[in-house]
Amino acid sequence: MGFRKVAELDALRDGGVTGVEVDGVPIALFRMGNEVHATHGICTHALAFLKDGYVEDGTIECPLHQGVFDIRTGRALCAPLTQDLATYAAKVEGGAVFVDLDSASESPSDAGPLEEVQVAENTGGSSLPLVIAGAGQAAAAAIRAARAAGFSAPIHLVGAEPHLPYERPPLSKEALGDAFDRASACRLPPADVAALGVTFHPGVRVTAVDAEARVATLSDNAQIPYGALLIATGGTARRLGIPGDDLPGVHHLRTLEDAEAIAASLASARTVAVVGGGFIGLELASAARARGLKVVLLEREGELMSRLLPPALGAAFRRLAEAHGVEVRRDVAVEAITARDGALALATTTGEIFADTVLVGVGLVPETALAALAGCEVAGGIVVDAFGRTSVDGIWAAGDCALHHVPLDGRRGRLESWRNAEEQGAAAGRSIAGDTAARTEKAPWFWTDQFGLNIQMLGVPGTGNEVALTGTDGAAGAVYRTLADGRVTAVIAFSDAAAIRAARAELVSDTPFDLAAHGARLLAPQETNPTPIDPEEDDMSASPDVQFAKKYVWPQEGLSIIPDWVYTDETVYQREVERIFHGRTWNFVALECEIENPGDFIRSNVGPTPVVVARAEDGTIHVFENRCAHRAAEFCRDLSGNAKEFVCPYHQWSYDLKGNLVGVPFRRGVDGKGGMPKDFKPADHGLKQLNVTTHRGVVFASYADGMESFPEYLGPEVLREFEATFDGRKPKLLGHYRHSLPGNWKLYHENLKDPYHATLLHTFLVTFGLLVAGNKSLMLADPSGRHGVMASAKSDTTHIDADKKKEMRAYKEGMTLEEPRFMDFIDEFDSPWSVTMATIWPNLIVQREMNTLGIRHIVPTGPNEFIMKWTMFGFEGDDEEMTRHRLRQGNLMGPAGFLGLEDNEAIKFVQDGMLGVPGGEHLVKLDPGTEAGTADTLISEAAIRAMYRHWRDAMGIA
């Protein structure tokens, strides 16, 4: 056959692998500069395409089982390979690549030892070390990000404290209670220090920097030349600067040791004075009250946090503290502290106060001396850009010591928060590694736990903003929005993570906040005080939310680890029903074509809860609980039907098609005796009715009032795929499958957010060569992380000649389908994708597997089992052959589907594994470059991580 042109040289990535087909034979082309090598495109071990493999040092690593071949000789270099790879002669002429399938490449025995191939590494232009001054959370984030981005030079971590990096939020929370485990706060465990190639210098500071020569001098006199220096020195707790501020019993909070000292002092104190009414001061006061101590909080200003929040919000925090027994005194400055009679006496501008312990929380002084010494611009914090770069070349800064890179509420400021330390650290790490891709800006986010509430704040409130409140002021569920010119600048939610989720859209919305539509009211700066709760009866440890939050703590590694209890715990499951299925979600309940006519109804479920979906005489659709308002009987027993009314068989209470109570037998008794009380109003005793919305013939219900519209709920990207399937044609019901799956319901979402499994578990397609090389694909996650779409595009096989088609169907000898036409794709959709699996939170999968269309409706029945109800459909106007094509293709999916049964089995295996070996955790680390969200590779678990970011938020799991 001789040499055949197979590609343009320019189309091949240097140092990479590209797949082509020559006469139906898959070929892998490897470009090394202007030289090209060709091998067979399929691994000799298992059926995997080498074009998806990883090229390194003149070798190709198979994507499936990490077998390695020599690119030039095809030699199998390691287990599990036992057979060499075929090679083909290849040459480059006139910018084109030619391959001869009939002759092998130059004799392998002549090739001799392989030359070292230079591999591009990211050292940010230098192989000199990265030196990090300061070993806090930002440092840990920077190390991980730098290594993830390919940074390969040594890293020196220089920390003044004796500890590896740890996070500080627990210091004012869990660490002040009993049974705090130091290790749980660690952000860079010893194993990671080793794995990430970090040299740790504990108890040492960077004392000097020569920015010209790029040398850092340490307090132990060591000198380290650096390629990059990251200043992450954090800060120190601000002192009062008054006589006696260093007496024993006067505590500041910054380090683990500080927290342990405070915990010890609280254990023996009876009265506590907290100086400073910021978040730290309030958390300290909360911890002291949780121990039943008498607490006085002293605030210098006229309202708490007046430099951070509008007065009405500061007042809300104050009243929360007051309601839990804290005595808050405002406009009070402490002038001196003295020890007297075994206690501490605080001389203040309004008189003397006695306390056993004084806790000072008056802010942080950023540690910027080193930066200033190195010549970096400092303005109340180290000035950095979005990549963490300071004004001096080779020096980065991140965390509490650095300014935010854009003005907040009109001024440059620092964000002393966990999130900021993570993000600035990671940005610096990536930048140091040479990754300067811009990342999407996220609104600042912050949380505080106090007085039994988890309070989250998203956005930047202006101190002069108006404040709108929904819910009860100071109680769980209260949501405060700060408004500037009517637009939302920040949302502060008291134990309502769902509100924070919704707030992301509000913060970027161009339309003014509609008070009436949200049932919100503007707060006056001064509202009346609620009645204080009797301190003796105030047992905060009894709050179920707090107990839950203490018991269920996400692993410190973050989203790349999922603990088993997420899938197996009954308490977690009950909370999912309450917060997710009965929370702020749109739940699938029916297709409109199932309830075509007035009186038509079906039984359905919202989460585990049985509901009836009915069409009333006026054509409107109603969803109500299938539970009689009288004695709870599940009254509707038929799967579907047509009715004029619903009558509970037990006592004949009757309801109309909207769920209103119509008739109560013997309501007025008999002969003036018995019957319902006189004030009984049927209107107050209807069935629990849910909110309903429809979109393109699909019916959804929600327990939550004031839900966003369904298109808003999906977001534009997922909506586009939803509408590509429900394209305006009227769906036509083809039938149902129902099966029970012995696994947790979330595993089903995960399976469809996990493109990694597709070719590994489902060998059907690969074996029969039905998976065509070069298929396009995408794993989309919506910005909230809850929805997703797994999509792929089947190559158009109708334009491939018969020989080639035959080749594609026979990658393994003897394995051909007798009736491959059931795999045909009739392109009936306005979409680039031939297959989409849309996971729509929380209970719906929309399957468009070429031409077989289905709704999968998740009905959880407990943590370890769920029911899946499939509703298969076509469209009005399908002719008989099209319907039969859909039915034939249906063999792929469902409880007996070629692909479907394997998914069911895999989910069972996962649950079995957890139940058999409890207390473990799952690893979802694939594709660390995308922390969570849409992935540009299928070898990714970023969409699963995005789902859990959302889930934790909805569940209130920190």
Binding site: L817, A896, A906
Partner: protein, 173 residues
């Protein structure tokens, strides 16, 4: 009616023919059940005619005249593909199955084909628990034709009463 004294009584020969036919169909069903119990799926596929139709459909769908089936094959090629794919590519946990067929009713149609119905029960044993579970309960609606090798199924529709499938249906019924 097996009453020889009634006016339109079938002759003894007719009765014997009917019994022989029933025995033949019974023997077929036993062989069919054995092929599935022993997971000889290639043999199972050959029990259908070239244009044999095979569908496993829920009673819910069947009663409402909705066509969707768990396994839907329009000819023996599709049935062979199913058998081949289950044996060679499908991943599922190992299991034992017992197919029980009873309450057979047989009627010969004018064109020589044979219509029959029977009840079936499938027991399943998984290796992670000791008990057998009733995996599916249903009814066959069959049409047999006589070919050179004996009876073949021109159509078998398996209508299952059990509303929920326990996880997955891996072996046909």
């Amino acid at each position: 009616m097996l009453n020889p004294s009634s006016a339109n009584a079938p002759s003894r020969d007719d009765l014997i023919d009917a019994l022989l036919l029933k025995a033949e169909v019974e023997a077929f069903n036993e062989a069919y059940a054995s092929a599935l119990d022993e997971q000889r799926l290639a043999d199972w596929a050959e029990m259908f005619t070239v244009n044999g139709f095979y569908n496993i459909i829920s009673r819910e769908n069947y009663d409402r005249k909705l066509p969707v089936g768990l396994i839907y094959c329009e000819n023996r090629g599709m049935i062979r593909d199913r058998a081949f794919a289950l044996e060679k590519t499908a991943m599922f946990a190992p299991r034992y199955l017992r197919h029980m067929v009873g309450n057979l009713k047989v009627a010969e149609a004018v064109d020589g084909s044979i219509d029959a119905t029977a009840n079936y029960v499938v027991f399943q044993v998984l290796f992670d628990r000791p008990d057998a579970t009733i995996h599916q309960v249903g009814r066959y609606i069959d049409r047999f034709v006589r070919e050179e090798g004996g009876l073949k199924l021109a159509s078998r529709i398996c209508i299952y009463d059990s509303l929920l499938i326990d996880n997955a249906l891996c072996i046909p019924v």
